[in-house]
């Protein structure tokens, strides 16, 4: 899991690696876990890490504003990093799609990391398979567009968190299968083990 995150993050800053810089940031990350398993904390820590030196802004999308900053890490105490994390709160699937579809209209530097927390809240609107697939695809397309804007030796990573039921739930299965097919890398947060 740590290796995967490092791969997603290193796509934003290829300087100094000495490797072939063909701007492949690695596959997107789909973070699965039950409620309270630490997904939002992990996403937030990842966002702060990516907002470090040499990297552009970070775009953090979630349905509802965070009530409080997640468990503090060293980076959370550096306000400059926090300033580089742009939070947006699309209240519905439609608004989320509109946001993603119109990112190219927004001037300014392209983000080096795109995060979406709480995908299940948007899927709970029961948008249907085609719309759910399009949401997943548009997230990838938006990250690909940011990568294109960042230039030849940088790329934008994508990280999506989805709350899953602790017990296997038949109703969730088709959408989860769909997302797994769209995103190739997954990390599972299982209670009570915490990554941070």
């Amino acid at each position: 899991m740590a290796e995967t995150l490092r791969r997603v993050l290193s796509g934003g800053n290829a300087a100094g690696t000495g490797e072939d810089t063909t701007a492949e940031s690695g596959p997107p990350v789909l973070l699965l876990g039950a409620q309270g398993s630490g997904k939002t904390s992990l996403m937030f820590a990842t966002a702060l890490e990516a907002a470090g030196e040499g990297c552009g802004p970070v775009l953090f999308l979630t349905r509802r504003p965070l009530q409080r900053l997640p468990r503090s890490t060293r980076a959370a105490r550096e306000p400059l990093r926090l300033q580089k994390v742009r939070f947006q709160y699309p209240p519905s699937t439609l608004e989320l799609l509109q946001l993603l579809a119109s990112t190219h209209e927004v001037p300014g530097p392209a983000p080096c990391l795109l995060l979406l927390d709480g995908l299940e809240e948007y899927l709970a609107e029961d948008p249907g398979t085609q719309e759910a697939a399009y949401l997943a695809a548009l997230l990838l397309d938006t990250a690909a567009y940011f990568s294109h804007r960042l230039g030849s030796n940088r790329s934008c990573g994508l990280m999506v968190a989805l709350e899953t039921q602790v017990e296997a739930d038949g109703a969730d299965a088709p959408q989860l299968t769909l997302l797994q097919r769209t995103y190739m890398v997954q990390g599972e947060n299982q209670l009570p083990q915490r990554v941070i």
Binding site: P27, L94, L97, Q98, A101, H104, A133, L140, A144
Partner: protein, 155 residues
């Protein structure tokens, strides 16, 4: 961020690209390989390419999207960055049943990229947003119950 096709398909497409660079046409054995891998979709995709049905739409921002005029006369929106097509066959065979890798429209896009013969269309940033939203959001209502409607001005 590139979403990878299986190696066989990547290899086939790069061989086709090399052949086109050398002689401006795809050799028969590569066409046969294409049919072997993709079945009848390959023929339909090649037909779409022949009929110049693929359009690459881009805006000043650099963002791009493909549209393919299907055999039924309907236009489908495709995201090549991540293998997505708005056609029913994609939703059924690729996503739901996991039978196929690509629908014929996506395959046509990859072939036309190799052949370098798709049509190009430039639109404004706002129009590109509308195109990205149009197909998929017809049935979705907003938070306050409204749905989208569009008025794309023709050039």
């Amino acid at each position: 961020m590139a979403v990878a096709l299986p190696e066989v398909v990547e290899e086939l497409l790069s061989e086709m690209a090399a052949a086109v660079r050398d002689s401006a046409r795809i050799p028969d054995e590569l066409l046969l390989s294409l049919k072997f891998v993709f079945g009848s979709s390959a023929i339909q995709a090649l037909d779409l390419v022949d009929r110049q049905s693929i359009t690459l739409i881009s805006s000043p921002s650099g963002r791009r999207v493909y549209q393919v005029l299907g055999s039924s006369g309907k236009t489908y929106t495709c995201l090549a960055s991540c293998h997505y097509c708005s056609c029913p066959a994609f939703a059924f065979s690729v996503l739901r049943k996991n039978d196929s890798l690509l629908c014929k429209h996506l395959l046509a896009i990859y072939i036309s990229q190799v052949m370098r013969n798709c049509q190009q269309l430039s639109v404004s940033d706002k129009q590109l947003t509308d195109i990205l939203l149009m197909e998929e959001t017809r049935s979705i209502k907003g938070a306050n119950g409204t749905s989208l409607s569009f008025n794309i001005e023709a050039h």
